[in-house]
């Protein structure tokens, strides 16, 4: 009888990475290497004020003294930081408007389904009538090539632009908040980013404003041997609300490429920030060759009372993911949330999770993590919940579920809890399950074939997290899971 079991053909792993093409565009690429000269060059290229150059140099000097973190459950050959180029931008001046952008680049975003014209649809998904579109900032290698809906957002006082522009146009906001949540010497990769960061997005939502549309940034690595070091800063002033989405892709290349981003979120009194990521960097091939090293520091600060920050991530790409979107719950009654789906296949490694630091009174955090491992991959949840002495009557709920597909993958859960108060309530639930042969047989018996069936079962497993995503991203995330699981079942 033909054997349709999951374990039957674990070696026929194959995956199609649709975003893996290269755009043929002339770029100015800084030769590989990193020293103070490099930083001077980047800062000058971006015409930055002196304070920012000094800030970068200070970060660089810290970085020189630091070591790469060793505690994560990931293995890779040492990175030669002198072998990476720290700046790559399409040749020529920054386009004045999207009409001036190189058609090759526009074509790239078109292929990826990202609308750079305001009438287009994100991911081809029709929005229900009355729902506003999504504004996009498109970052190509080291620079932002354009931001849509800027004018209509400006009418509400919302600032949405590239980080480089913000440095010039809103220097007081940038200077006030840059490094406030993730200090420049926070960790090895954050320090590196602080020294050489290129571009990224800047968002400011003024007091009492509910951002009228979803904002999004699409990061695209195109050039070879370059690292991407973007920096995002989002500030929600008192009573403001914003939902922000982030997507990322890169060509298929045999070499590993480094992506070391920093994201800082600031929520003042009664403000709310929802930050969603669909991470689909190139994961490497079936043998584990190539792929992005995704070493990212993301942190939000609930500075204000009753403020709320929620991270939702769907991580399907990258050869290695090292990422712990965190929330510092400083304001009384503030709320932090982390919803995560991390899928690894073939030789991918993910060490991801979150850190919830409860400082204010009556603060609450929720962590829902869904890890899915297939192929020979390794998937780690690492979380820390800390209840500080001042965090009176605070609570956390953590749920970590792992799903294994096949026999050769691994899943681990490391939930750390540091509660320095008796009245802290910290609840933890964990489960590990396998896509069962019985579930698979049920699907097949009803006419749904192996891969579709696994994708459906996995999607069901992730439902609690997908529910948190804006519509387009939920659709995209479900599709991505399906593609990423290709070849995981015989």
């Amino acid at each position: 009888m033909p054997d349709s079991s999951l374990s039957a053909t674990p070696n026929l792993l194959q995956r199609t990475y649709e975003a893996g093409f290269v755009t043929d565009v002339e770029s100015d690429i800084l030769p590989p290497g990193l020293n103070e000269q490099t930083i001077h060059w980047i800062s000058q290229k971006k015409n930055e004020p002196k304070w920012l150059l000094e800030w970068r140099l200070d970060a660089y000097r810290h970085w020189l003294e630091m070591d790469e973190p060793q505690w994560a459950t990931v293995t890779f050959d040492a990175i030669d930081y002198q072998d990476i180029s720290y700046f790559s931008a399409p040749r020529g001046d920054k386009p004045k408007s999207l009409d001036d952008v190189d058609p090759e680049i526009l074509q790239t975003y078109n292929k990826l389904g990202i609308p750079l014209h305001e009438q287009e649809l994100l991911a081809g998904v029709e929005r229900p009538e009355g729902r506003p579109p999504v504004a996009v900032d498109a970052v190509f290698d080291s620079v932002s090539i354009g931001t849509t809906f800027r004018e209509s957002l400006a009418e509400e006082g919302v600032i949405f632009c590239s980080f480089s522009e913000a440095v010039h146009e809103y220097p007081e906001l940038v200077q006030k908040y840059l490094g406030r949540v993730v200090p420049k010497s926070d960790n090895f990769y954050a320090a590196l980013n602080s020294a050489v960061f290129s571009d990224g997005s800047f968002v400011y939502i003024p007091k009492g404003v509910r951002c009228p549309m979803e904002l999004s940034t699409y990061f695209r690595i195109n050039s070879q041997n370059t690292g991407q070091f973007e920096r995002t800063l989002i500030i929600a002033d008192e009573g403001a609300y914003v939902s922000y989405l982030e997507g990322c892709t890169a060509p298929m290349r045999d070499e590993n490429q480094l992506h070391a981003a920093v994201v800082e979120l600031v929520a003042l009194d009664d403000a709310e920030i929802k930050y969603s990521t669909v991470q689909n960097w190139y994961p490497g091939d079936e043998e584990g060759k190539g792929g992005i090293y995704n070493f990212v520091t993301k942190r939000g600060s609930c500075m204000g009372k009753r403020s709320r920050i929620s991270w939702t991530q769907v991580e399907t790409g990258s050869a290695i993911t090292w990422k712990y979107p965190s929330v510092i719950l400083r304001g009384d009654d503030s709320v932090g949330e982390f919803y995560s789906v991390a899928l690894t296949n073939n030789h991918q490694q993910a060490d991801t999770g979150t850190k919830m630091t409860h400082i204010g009174k009556n603060t609450k955090s929720t962590i829902i993590s869904k890890g899915i491992s297939a192929g020979k991959s390794s998937n780690v949840y690492r979380g820390l919940v800390r209840m500080n002495p001042g965090a009176k009557e605070s609570r956390n709920f953590t749920q970590c579920d792992s799903l294994l597909i096949g026999e050769n993958c691994a899943a681990h859960t490391y939930p750390y809890i540091e509660a320095r108060r008796r009245d802290a309530v910290v609840e933890h639930e964990a489960s590990t399950s396998k896509v069962s042969e019985d579930q698979l047989f049920l699907c097949q018996q009803r006419g749904i074939d192996g891969e579709k069936a696994v994708a459906m079962i996995v999607n069901g497993f992730c439902k609690d997290v997908f529910r948190q995503l804006p519509m387009e991203f939920a659709v995209e995330a479900a599709k991505l899971l399906e593609v990423s699981l290709e070849g995981s079942v015989g």
Binding site: S4, Q444, Q445, R446, G447, I457, K463
Partner: protein, 249 residues
């Protein structure tokens, strides 16, 4: 004309023989009931027809309309119109009944070279089918069998059968664990499904189902072979006398 033909079927589970040269022929338009003591091999037979992994077929053949099923994967058998109603339906958490059925219906239609069913037609049909089995719309939004009671799970099997419109339905104790009203509802579902084009194999322990769904034949399996075949009076005899007299005969 014979539609389902099972010939000299010998099957082992974990190295132990469970079916020992079983023969059965079912024609289109017929309803066959299969009875037999616990452990006789009834579910094994159903699972072999559906293609469930984990069984060793030593010899024999299972063909549908002249096509050897044993050479086909489970999904290919589904494409050929085989449906298996499970004795113990399992859950798929987070996958709603609606999306599950929608995917299954479209997958079968695609295989048959038909267009996808329109969302409106699908919704209409699935609501009316579920209503017929006395499962309200809220059941369609819940995960497949997720948190369903035993009886609800069994009714859900019939919903799936009526949605997928197979040619051969093998229902493994769909009547077990149903209350009197649910039994009637399930029987109505089966009768509605019954047609000249279709064949039905009902595995059951109770005559009661057969009072609602009149079988053309009743077979008794013990120790992996059919030991007696007859009409529905055989079911009455078994209800009164048990199985032992068959072995003695």
């Amino acid at each position: 004309m014979t539609f389902l033909r099972i010939k000299d079927l010998v099957v082992k589970v974990e190295g132990r023989p469970v079916l020992n040269g079983l023969n059965l022929e079912v024609g289109r338009g017929e309803v066959h009931a299969i009875m037999g003591p616990n452990g006789a091999g009834k579910s094994t037979l159903a699972n072999i027809i559906g293609g469930k992994p984990g069984y060793e077929t030593v010899t024999g053949s299972v063909s549908l309309n002249g096509v050897e099923l044993l050479d086909l994967s489970p999904v290919e058998r589904a494409y050929k119109g085989v449906f298996l109603g499970f004795q113990y339906p399992i859950e798929i958490p987070g996958v709603s009944n609606m999306e599950f059925l929608h995917a299954a219906v479209n997958s079968l239609r695609k295989e048959a070279g038909q267009d996808e069913i329109s969302t409106i037609d699908f919704m209409k049909k699935v609501r009316s089918v579920a209503n017929g089995l006395q499962l309200g719309s809220e059941f369609l939004k819940r995960g497949v069998n997720e948190g369903f009671s035993g009886g609800e799970k069994k009714r859900n099997e019939i919903v799936q059968m009526l949605m997928l419109e197979p040619k051969l339905a093998v229902l493994d104790e769909t009547d077990s664990g149903l209350d009197v009203d649910a039994l009637r509802v399930v029987a109505e579902g089966v009768n509605q499904f019954r047609s000249e084009e279709r064949a039905i194999v009902l595995i059951t322990h109770y005559k009661r189902l057969l009072e609602y769904v009149q079988p053309d034949y009743v077979h008794v399996i013990t120790d992996g072979v059919i030991v007696r075949s007859g009409d529905d009076t055989l079911a009455t005899e078994i209800e009164e006398r048990g199985f032992n007299w068959l072995a003695e005969a």
